[in-house]
Assembly symmetry: C2
Homo-oligomer: 403 residues x 2
């Protein structure tokens, strides 16, 4: 099971219920390709009768405690409950819900650095268990049903259950049954949307998302206005832009929403900062690039961290890369050019846009942006070959432990 | 004539009329002492009949053109009109309104670096001309009347016509006649309010205030909510806090309003940034200082620039200075300690507050904060001895030109 996601725009800040993870407003995201960023998860039922058998979890090779009453435990419980229902309606099925689970998961990108690692990891967990437990349409379980469970593990994980362009409907019920993800459009509808992730810092965030959200809900005088009067219309507009493949409208809404998300973070007491000087220089560069071009060449969005995600249409990727690499030079290692664009990582290329103000920001030193990850819109969870790519051996222990 | 001001809190962003400089909301400021930051202005009527005599202006020693129809010209015109009215009602007065004016003005702090230099300079100009023209209560002209004219030169200059704690009532009339400054309390009401100005950058601002304001009015979805639903109640609360000398309430409102002002700047397309990483580190330091102390020791506020103004009660000045200088070390030249607190400029002092998290921000290098200006709440415009301190000689030319 492999999965990852990139948020198009940040409308999930603030939770109306922190236990169930119910958001204060709907939101929308783009799922990014697993060819470049992914969580790889393997789950096995431990069916032999070891006396000490219990649910166990390994993240990136290290065992993690599954805290009783915690989010992971709750997700396992919900998935088992669904499986029990399926088993009771079809007694021929093996009683997998009665066995302990061993789960191993690995991200190929840094955790807790604002790259949506928990959304990716949790959605991969749910998708993996759904596959193991055969919880699918044939057994009366939809992807939106699964997204409801993923949501309780890590809010935005619900969106990552789908590929392509995904909405998280906030829902209205106190029990959260209607707070689920739905597909706006599959990746194939608008396949030429690329994403450049400018990794500004790999350091752990100062403010964990959950604590930040609660402070904003408690103290921001602007958040409620944003939720009630700005986001609903924006959800409509951005969905329409996606359906019409209208990049200009998509870019305008994406950037405005990212700006406003960080504005309400700043309108928090004490204020929450995710953007740093490098983040802001990237925003200024994109604004100048779009101004000089007379149309949107790129759209930035910032999650709860300093990293930029730039959305770019395929036809403009080389132009935008040339500009990005000119102002934030990379090495071949930090920009391996996976799509073979031929852009010079050290930024020798000139900006070939008439009227572009070269002095809009300084050319930064190597390392100001640690890495440039080039990826694009991608599909949803994939099932892989467990024998070849699985992380657990036949006994249910991580293969990495044998090394 | 000498004058300066420091804004307590930023509620003047956005103009409902850019010609008359009518703000979208009321606001409040603290006038800072002229002992440390001031504009010194001298004006003379040129009464001899030189054929080429005309209005002339020297700023910091260099002559500046008085553009026809510009803000300075408009202020001179309005002051002359007031003088004409006074002359017509008392024909014994000399016809000063008929003579050209020579004006020289000097700030003892950098212009356009977010230190409210234009507010200070314009209010000094109006106060100087009022003195020259005898436009005072005895002649039926109040300080609020003068503030209306200062407002047309540089919006926030209207507040600087008063000392102490000053409100700028937005007014409702289209002609702006009711958009004037009024005294909330004189400096003597709450005299122990000190201000530490942390000069983060002396460079010219990226976005001039006026252009920034218009972009925010045009594009921010949050500004209107702030104006209509947040600022009016805050004006009430902050005025009450000043009248009650309640520093905790004053600090909370001041910081929340500064945060929200910069939030709506960020909610602008393209976004406007005034705070940089150093500005934000100062905010985090103040938040930690207040948290660990269990009460507000300092309140930050940021104008349209990266410089911090920290308000501190006299009893806490040494404690706050020790912390500021520990994290942002100075030299004796950049922190001359005008109040003789004895704080070490190089930050050797320990933070003597139990539970203070020393790692809240890194200790910065010398120069991250270029200067620490220590001042306090002060009085309004002062009349000085022209012979000794005036900038123009008897012929009306700048004394500096003779050197």
């Amino acid at each position: 099971m492999a999965h990852t996601q990139g948020t198009v725009y940040q409308a999930t800040w603030g939770k109306r219920d922190t236990q169930l993870i119910l958001p204060t407003n709907s939101s929308l995201s783009v799922t990014l390709s697993q060819d470049h960023l992914r969580s790889l998860t393997t789950a096995r039922c431990i069916t032999d009768a070891r006396p000490d058998a219990r649910d166990r979890l390994w993240l990136n090779g290290d065992e993690e405690e599954i805290k009783e009453g915690g989010r992971t435990a709750r997700c396992l419980e919900e998935m088992r409950a669904l499986r029990r229902k399926v088993e009771s309606s079809d007694p021929s099925l093996p009683p997998l819900s009665t066995h302990p689970l061993h789960i191993a998961s690995e991200n190929n990108f840094p955790t807790a650095a604002g790259l949506a690692s928990s959304a990716s990891g949790l959605s991969a967990l749910i998708a993996t268990l759904a596959r193991l437990y055969a919880l699918d349409d044939a057994h009366g379980v939809s992807t939106s049903d699964l997204s409801r469970i993923a949501r309780q593990g890590s809010g935005s994980a619900c969106r990552s259950m789908f590929g392509g362009y995904v909405a998280w409907e906030q829902g209205e019920r106190a029990d959260g049954l209607d707070s689920v993800a739905v597909e706006v459009a599959p990746a194939s509808h608008w396949p030429d949307l690329h994403a450049l992730i400018l990794v500004v810092s790999d350091k752990k965030k100062g403010t964990p998302s959950t604590a930040g959200m609660q402070r904003t809900v408690a103290t921001s005088a602007l958040l409620e206005h944003r939720i009630k009067h700005v986001v609903p219309a924006r959800m409509e507009r951005i969905s329409r832009a996606i359906l019409a493949r209208d990049f200009d409208a998509f870019a305008q809404e994406t950037m405005a929403d990212s700006n406003q998300f960080h504005a309400v973070c700043l309108d928090t007491a004490p204020p929450i900062f995710y953007l740093n000087d490098t983040s802001r220089a990237i925003m200024q560069l994109v604004a100048e690039l779009n101004r000089a071009s007379g149309r949107a060449l790129a759209a930035y969005t910032y999650d709860a961290g300093p990293n930029a995600v730039l959305y770019v249409q395929e036809k403009d990727v080389r132009t935008v890369l040339d500009v990005v690499l000119r102002y934030f030079p990379q090495t071949r290692a930090s920009f391996p050019d996976p799509f073979g664009t031929g852009a010079s990582p050290t930024g020798e290329s000139q900006v070939g846009i008439e009227g572009f103000n070269e002095g809009v920001i300084p050319r930064h030193e190597e390392g100001a942006v640690a890495r440039v990850i080039h990826t694009k819109v991608g599909d949803g969870p994939r099932t892989l070959d467990s024998d070849k790519e699985g992380l657990l051996d036949a006994s249910g222990m991580p293969k990495s432990l044998r090394a």
